[in-house]
Symmetry: C2
Subunit: 137 residues, 2 copies
C-alpha cells in the first residue's frame, strides 16, 4: 500500500475531548451520554462532532460498537487487539468481555463455505448481572 492515508484527519481539541471522555468511561456509552458528559464538563463539544468522532474511531478500529435492546449504538474504547465481544447487563449496562474464539472460528468457517465474501459478524450477549438481579425473597 502506498499512500493509504485515506482520511487526512486533523488534530482538534474536540476530537481529543471525545477520545478522552471515552477513555474515562469504564463501560459502553451511547453517543448521547458521551455528549452529555462533555457538555457538563468544561469542554463543550457539539453532538454532531461526537457522532463524527465516533464514526472515525469505529472506522479505524479504536472503539467497539454494540447495540442495546432498542437498537441504540453503544461505544467503548478498545483495549485488546482484534475485536472483542461482550456480555451486557440489560439493567445497568455493565459489560464484561467474553471469550469468543469459538464464535470467531465459526464465523470464519461460514465465510469460507458459504459462497459469500467479506463476511462480518456481530454478536450481542445480554443478561441480568448478579448485582441487578432482585433477590427473590
Amino acid at each position: 500500500m502506498t499512500g493509504a492515508k485515506s482520511s487526512p484527519t486533523r488534530n482538534t481539541p474536540q476530537r481529543a475531548a471525545v477520545l478522552r471522555a471515552l477513555g474515562n468511561c469504564q463501560d459502553f456509552v451511547s453517543a448521547q451520554m458521551l455528549h452529555a458528559r462533555l457538555v457538563t464538563a468544561d469542554c463543550a463539544v457539539g453532538l454532531t462532532t461526537v457522532y463524527r468522532a465516533l464514526h472515525q474511531l469505529q472506522a479505524t478500529g479504536q472503539v467497539d460498537v454494540v447495540r442495546d435492546g432498542t437498537g441504540e449504538r453503544l461505544y467503548r474504547r478498545r483495549s485488546t487487539a482484534g475485536h472483542q465481544h461482550y456480555l451486557l447487563c440489560r439493567d445497568c449496562g455493565r459489560s464484561r468481555p467474553v471469550d469468543s474464539r469459538v464464535v470467531e472460528r465459526w464465523a470464519e468457517r461460514i465465510g469460507e463455505t458459504s459462497g459469500f465474501t467479506d463476511v462480518e459478524h456481530t454478536v450481542e450477549l445480554t443478561g441480568v448481572c448478579g448485582r441487578c438481579r432482585p433477590t427473590a425473597h
Copy 2:
C-alpha cells in the same frame, strides 16, 4: 408456569393479512416494506397494526428478527423449530440460514458460567453473496 396464555389474541383479518404477506416474502422484510405491500394490495392495514402484529409474532416465536446495518428490524416467518441465525447479503438482502449449533452451545455455556441470568444472544452475519459480487475482471 401454568396458563401461560398471556396474550389472548383475537383473529382479525388484518392480522391474517400481515401473516399472509409475511408468508409471501421469501426473505427478511422490514415492517415498513410489509406495510407498503399491504397498502398496495387490496387489503390495507395500518402501520401501527403491522408493528403490533409483528411484535406478537416475535413474542410467540413465529418470526425471526434480525437487524440490518442501520439498526432497522427485519422480520421473516420462521420455518424450523428453535431459533435460527442467518447470513444476510449486504447488497440484495438475500439470506441463507446457517448452522449455528456451535454458537448456541457457546452462548449457553456463557450463561452458566458468567453469573448473569436470562442470557440471550443475537448473532448477525453479513456478507456479499455471489450474485452481488462484482466480477473483478
